[in-house]
């Protein structure tokens, strides 16, 4: 379960990692409904948040803030979803007073927020942070290393950039520390890393402390990834040493460990569609795409292969849905989720052992009876008790296929036929749908 940046930073704060002063402004509630007041309400809250932030600390005025869209997406900066503003930026005149000061900063942040929210992304919230003045940016992460069964710390003195690009171009710029899962992180390892990153004095101690805190977070919350990029090395001022502050937070909690962490609830705002959210509540793996073939497959590997085969045959997947394993008796629920898409065909492919073919065929036939799907269904259901499954399908007027590739070709042909029919303008409302689809793309 991926956490948004603000949620990751909440976890950071719990283990003592320094984060910038901030306020959260909600655009959507966690259940996916709009927060009160629409766009203007949200912008009013941005204004209030900035004014609160700029007054914090009693005396030291905050002169720059960062407005950051909270959504699960890489490259937010490039997409214009992270904006640094200062009081001088607002040059629009009017009632926002002259450049500088609290009012100027607030109105600049409001404009940045309006711009971010107008880009067409689904943004559940904005994080308004005090901008950190830094002299250097570091990179730090911890993740599992499966080959030797240990954890690996990746660190670089050249943070703030895309770490994968850095790894490809200058691998020597990335330092690695391996952690034995039974011994845990040792003090000498943290110290050594600090020196290898070129940090000295109090900063070296800070880095060692930060890594220890991050490892605590990683183990305590069963994370599959904790990443800080960048870690800001702040500019020291008279009376304060330079320090390390987490500029971003990427925390992914292991889904298999969520029973140990009841605080992390599955909520609507984490998903890009209602169908994806409802599938998650059912424990059904689901991915949203924008094609016209709904996949309803059992078995993760088989579903992934069917996904490939559809693409090879020139088809387009509307959704990836896998109802094998413990969900093999949820055919009706699976079909309901597929029908939420505007796909033109549902392709059912299974080859199960425990996920018995006869049970799945029975489920599919019942689902068709109850849901009366408005689109053709291709079935390729094999595995335990497949003879019975095929009898069931035939009795319901479905043609049971044995061969996965034949089933895929059938589905792709049906989808193509539906598209051709729509393009002839036979069904005006579907033509409208096509047009809106293009507008989004």
């Amino acid at each position: 379960m991926k956490r948004f940046e603000f949620q990751g930073k909440d976890l950071f704060a719990r283990v003592g990692i320094r984060i910038p002063a901030s306020r959260l402004v909600r655009i959507m509630e966690p259940d996916g409904t709009a927060s009160p007041g629409g766009m203007e309400g949200a912008l009013k809250r941005v204004d209030t948040a900035v004014r609160e932030l700029s007054r914090k600390g009693g005396g030291t005025a905050v002169s720059r803030v960062v407005v950051k869209a909270q959504l699960d997406m890489g490259g937010r900066g490039k997409a214009g979803l992270i904006r640094v503003v200062d009081a001088g930026e607002s040059g629009t005149g009017g009632d926002s007073a002259e450049p500088g000061g609290e009012a100027g900063l607030a109105s600049a942040a409001v404009e940045a927020a309006r711009d971010i929210l107008s880009k067409g992304y689904t943004v559940p919230a904005l994080l308004i942070e005090e901008a950190v003045t830094f002299q250097q940016e570091l990179y730090l992460s911890i993740s599992p290393e499966p080959t030797e069964a240990r954890y690996v710390v990746l660190a670089s003195a050249e943070g703030g950039v895309d770490i994968e690009t850095l790894a490809a171009e200058r691998p020597e710029a990335i330092k690695r520390v391996y952690i034995d899962p039974f011994r845990g992180l040792q003090a000498y390892q943290s110290r050594g890393l600090a020196y290898d990153l070129g940090l000295e004095g109090s900063l070296a101690k800070d880095l060692a402390r930060l890594l220890t805190q991050l490892y605590t977070l990683f183990t305590q919350f069963d994370a599959e990834l904790v990443e800080i990029n960048p870690v800001f090395v702040t500019k020291g001022t008279a009376g304060s040493e330079p320090a390390l502050v987490a500029g971003d937070a990427k925390v992914i909690i292991d889904d298999n460990s969520l029973h140990r962490h009841p605080d992390f609830q599955t909520v609507r705002e984490q998903y890009d569609s209602d169908a994806a959210y409802e599938a998650a509540l059912e424990g059904i793996p689901y991915l949203q795409f924008d094609g016209d073939i709904s996949l309803m497959c059992a078995g993760a590997g088989l579903a992934t292969t069917v996904f490939d085969l559809v693409n090879y045959e020139g088809g387009h997947v509307a959704n990836y849905l896998e109802f094998g394993g413990p969900n093999y008796n949820k055919a009706q629920r699976a079909m309901e989720l597929c029908l939420k898409n505007s796909s033109s065909v549902i392709l059912i492919v299974t080859f199960g052992t425990i996920a018995r073919a006869d049970v799945m065929a029975e489920g599919v036939v019942t689902a068709i009876k109850n849901l009366k799907p408005d689109r053709p269904i291709v079935t390729c259901i094999r595995g335990t008790n497949e003879e019975q499954a095929h009898t069931t399908l035939r009795e319901a007027g479905l043609e049971p296929l044995y061969n996965t590739e034949e089933a895929v070709r059938r589905a792709v042909a049906l989808a193509a036929a539906a598209t051709a029919q729509n393009n002839r303008g036979d069904i005006p409302q579907d033509a409208t749908h096509d047009a809106s689809g293009e507008a989004q793309a």
Partner: protein, 302 residues
């Protein structure tokens, strides 16, 4: 012959009295598996298909010794994911060195600890999130539809796989081409499988009855690349065909299995295919090509 298990392998079943445990223990025995004891805490004295049940693995091993028999060398776990680490440690501490767990949903940090512990003790854990291991006609530690003849037939091809459903699909293609399976090992779909593809290659290389190996891989991780390295280094010299799912999967999306995700530049199917092809293996882009590719490499009569 076969690798990992054969008809002489003495097996203990942990979680034998549960619904899945008792059902599949029956199928294992029908397939030829030598199940010598079962374990369910609190159920000592019961029997499942004539197999005596004990409170613990240690007590089962003691009873076998007291009865003048050898201890069990392999354990099959029908234990829920959150208790799997405990069950693995229990088996390891009772001297078991081959352990198969089918559990789907083992916590990630448990997966790391399970593999680390097994390695430190010279043991092999297969799984989780797998159908297990089968040497058709000899023995089975797991849950395979061996009764579907067009899918599971004894023969000369070693198979290693990250996916149960896909294995049925690919194995059917192997059998359709007139081959059969020596041993099939499902290493599982988790990010940290207990044992990795390349760690079975030495055994397949040494097995006189394995003429070639098929690996059923998928996007994510580095297991396929490790196989390519083993071929490159000359550690494995028999014909090898790979099918790898997820070639068209979008980056950063988890395709079904927890381990099936491309992060950064690592784990793409293209990179895996290139590594294997460069090492001299054949890579099928569709399951239907696996059989014919094998046929092109192995001149075994149909």
């Amino acid at each position: 012959m076969s690798i990992f298990i054969d008809k002489t392998t003495r097996i203990i079943v942990q979680g034998i009295t549960g619904k899945e445990g008792s059902f599949w223990t029956g199928h294992m025995i029908d397939m030829g598996a030598k199940v010598v004891a079962g374990v369910t805490p609190g159920k000592e004295g019961e029997r499942v298909r004539e197999v005596p049940v004990y409170h613990s693995v240690a007590r089962a091993q003691a009873a076998l010794r007291d009865g003048g028999e050898d201890e069990a060398e392999a354990a099959m776990l029908f234990v829920p994911p959150r208790f799997t680490k405990d069950a693995v440690y229990e088996a390891l501490d009772a001297g078991v060195r081959k352990i198969v767990t089918i559990a789907d949903g083992i916590p990630l940090h448990d997966q790391i600890e399970i593999r680390a512990a097994a390695r430190s003790m010279g043991a092999q854990v297969v799984g989780g999130n797998t159908s297990g291991v089968i040497s058709p006609g000899q023995s089975m530690l797991g849950i395979f539809p061996y009764w579907i003849e067009r899918v599971y037939k004894p023969g000369s091809i070693g198979v290693m796989t990250r996916s149960g459903s896909l294995t049925n699909e690919v194995t059917a293609m192997i059998v359709e081409e007139g081959f059969g399976v020596s041993t099939l090992i499902g290493v599982g779909g988790d990010p940290v499988p207990g044992t990795r593809f390349a760690e079975f290659l030495d055994d397949f290389e040494a097995d006189p009855d394995t003429n070639g190996v098929v690996i059923v891989g998928e996007l994510g991780g580095t297991m396929e690349e490790e196989v390519a390295a083993a071929i490159d280094e000359g550690r494995f010299t028999k014909p090898l065909v790979a099918f790898i799912g997820g070639r068209t999967a979008p980056k950063g999306k988890r395709m079904g299995h927890a381990g099936a995700i491309v992060t950064g530049n690592a784990g793409t199917v293209v990179a895996k295919s290139e590594a294997l092809t460069a090492a001299g293996a054949l890579v099928a882009d569709r399951p239907s090509k696996v059989g014919t590719m094998l046929r092109s490499l192995i001149a075994e009569p149909r």
